[in-house]
């Protein structure tokens, strides 16, 4: 069998999701045996050349040239998978979509004039067709290997679409929302992280993005009753998946 060619690409992001691949210590040899990693700037200096069976894309589109690059990558790829909150929902940097770019630049950079960027940060799927999206900040390594395996043997990846609560309950983690009144986004957030925060008694802050048909409005009403202001509620949602939560919220209110 010819090993499928994989390319790993990066746009605006922190590299954390790519690092997940390098951190797959137990699996990395298997990956190399089964796949041909033909482009991966974080790990090798192989030049960008030819077509890819799978392109793994990290990061959001936030500059003009990225808009062209992603089209080029799409044209080189049989399948395109996005990894992480940036690539699937614009990332933390999408917070500038609801603010002014110039004021952000001023606050962040010593010489803002040298920065050219779009006023928005958007997910890859706003620009090209995406075959599969892996959520998470960063992604879960088991989900990545499930996706790669699924590609190899020809099936749909079995990645959960239900709420984090299901994962918490399976692990027997006491619910901090109900038992402590902590504003936990678990009920409206996708499972898949392995209930990481909640197992340390920290409320979920939604890094795996909204679950299918998340009823955000109802949970926010409940938080409001707990004493959170409207502004508190919005800032809970405005994190790395801000773009996705806002989108679901608009769709849910229709």
């Amino acid at each position: 069998m010819k090993r499928p060619r994989i390319g790993v690409f990066k746009f605006t992001s922190c590299d954390g999701c790519q690092l997940t691949i390098l951190n797959m210590e137990d699996e990395i040899l298997d990956i190399l045996e089964l796949f041909d990693i033909a482009y991966f700037r974080e790990a090798t200096d192989k030049p960008l050349r030819g077509q890819f069976d799978i392109s793994i894309v990290e990061g959001s589109i936030s500059t003009d040239w990225q808009k062209e690059d992603i089209v080029d990558i799409r044209e080189r790829s049989r399948h395109l998978i996005t990894i992480g909150a940036c690539a699937t929902s614009g990332g933390l940097q999408a917070l500038r979509n609801w603010a002014s770019l110039s004021s952000y630049k001023k606050h962040v950079y010593p010489s803002p004039d040298m920065i050219t960027a779009l006023s928005t940060s958007t997910p890859i799927s706003d620009h090209v067709y995406v075959d599969y999206e892996l959520w998470g900040c960063p992604i879960n390594k088991d989900a990545l290997s499930e996706t790669l395996i699924s590609f190899l043997i020809g099936k749909r990846p079995g990645i959960p679409r239900y709420s984090l609560c299901m994962e918490c309950k399976r692990h027997g983690i006491p619910c901090i929302l109900v038992s402590n009144g902590e504003p936990c986004l678990g009920p409206i957030t996708k499972a898949g992280c392995g209930a990481l925060c909640t197992s340390f008694e920290r409320p979920c802050y939604g890094c795996f993005g909204p679950k299918d048909d998340a009823n955000i409005e109802s949970l926010m009403r409940y938080f409001h009753n707990l004493g959170l202001t409207q502004k508190d509620c919005i800032s809970l949602l405005d994190k790395m998946n801000s773009y996705a939560y806002r989108k679901v919220r608009i769709e849910g209110s229709k």
């Binding site: 298997d30 299901m166 027997g172 009920p187 409206i188 299918d212 109802s218 949970l219 409940y222």
Partner: protein, 377 residues
Amino acid sequence: MTKAKIKKDHLKLIFDRLKTSHRIIGPKVEGNVIVLAEIADLRDIPAGCKEQQGRGTYRLGKNSSQLSVASSQIFSFSVGPDSFKRFMSPPVRENFAFKKSKKGISISQNSSQVREISTAFIGMRACDIAALRLLDKVFLEGPVKDAGYDSLRRNSLIVGINCLYPGDNCFCSSMDTGPVIRDGFDMAVTELDDSFLLEIGTVRGREILNGLPIDEVSDKDLSEKVSKIEKCKKMIKKSIKVSELPWLIYRNLEHPRWADVAGRCLACGNCTQVCPTCFCNSSYDNLQLSGISKKLPELSGARIRTWDSCFSTNFARVHGGNFRPSRRARYRQWMSHKLAYWIDQFGSPGCVGCGRCITWCPVGIDITQELEALHAR
């Protein structure tokens, strides 16, 4: 001997006796919640604790004064999120391991060792025992017996506790499942003022007491039990009119209330996960990269079964379609199954009135209220 009495301090003797031959599962505090877990010491049991349960809230505290729990009470608390389900039909379990080669398929079942370990459940409530008997019907009395459940069930010993202080969301009395344990136990315990009244259900239950210092049971003890349980019944606030089931639901499958509850329901599945009778699950093939051979299609992996929920969006998905895409339909499916379909399927409602779904619903949807609302035209 079907009844006996022991001094309160002697509960430890029973515990120690069980511990020599059993893994002991019982109530224990984790975080701010009373869960069911392995307990090594009788002191793990949160003696004298009382939780306040509301719609979507649970607060653990020491005896709250308004309930006037006697200060010497050990089993003053009520049910937490866990039930027998977690142990008899574990959240994740392996159906079998598989190996596929060019020539064929080989399937192997490694009989998990946990199944063989005898487990004693102590402090189980009447509603939990009633729920276990409902799970028996699902897993043992269908066309194919669930072998995993069967062996876990056979290796369990049940020490039940009669509830004297109900939880705020309990309605077992109206479901006729509690608060007193009627059957399905090896030993049932009632906490009297200065002793424990023990009722023996099975030979195994009796063997626990062999050689232990037990007292005769007097009529006074029995009447104390009855009066304590009557008092408990009076404290139960919620109820369901079982006589209206299943017809109240069958007549109202298109009631506007379903759309109303869909506006509140998060479809997070918490109610189904804490429900002691919700048995829905999904099996899938789990593959690891190390199990994939370079010579495809050779591969190996395991078929895993996990708890699932009718609230999962793709629970009723078939190729190219979903039978229940809306939250309205999924909530209706859950509640109708609990309170109506179950009666047709297994002869009694699938709800035992433990109130877990009310407590652990993040937005406090109350099944008793939702049912009541179906009366409105």
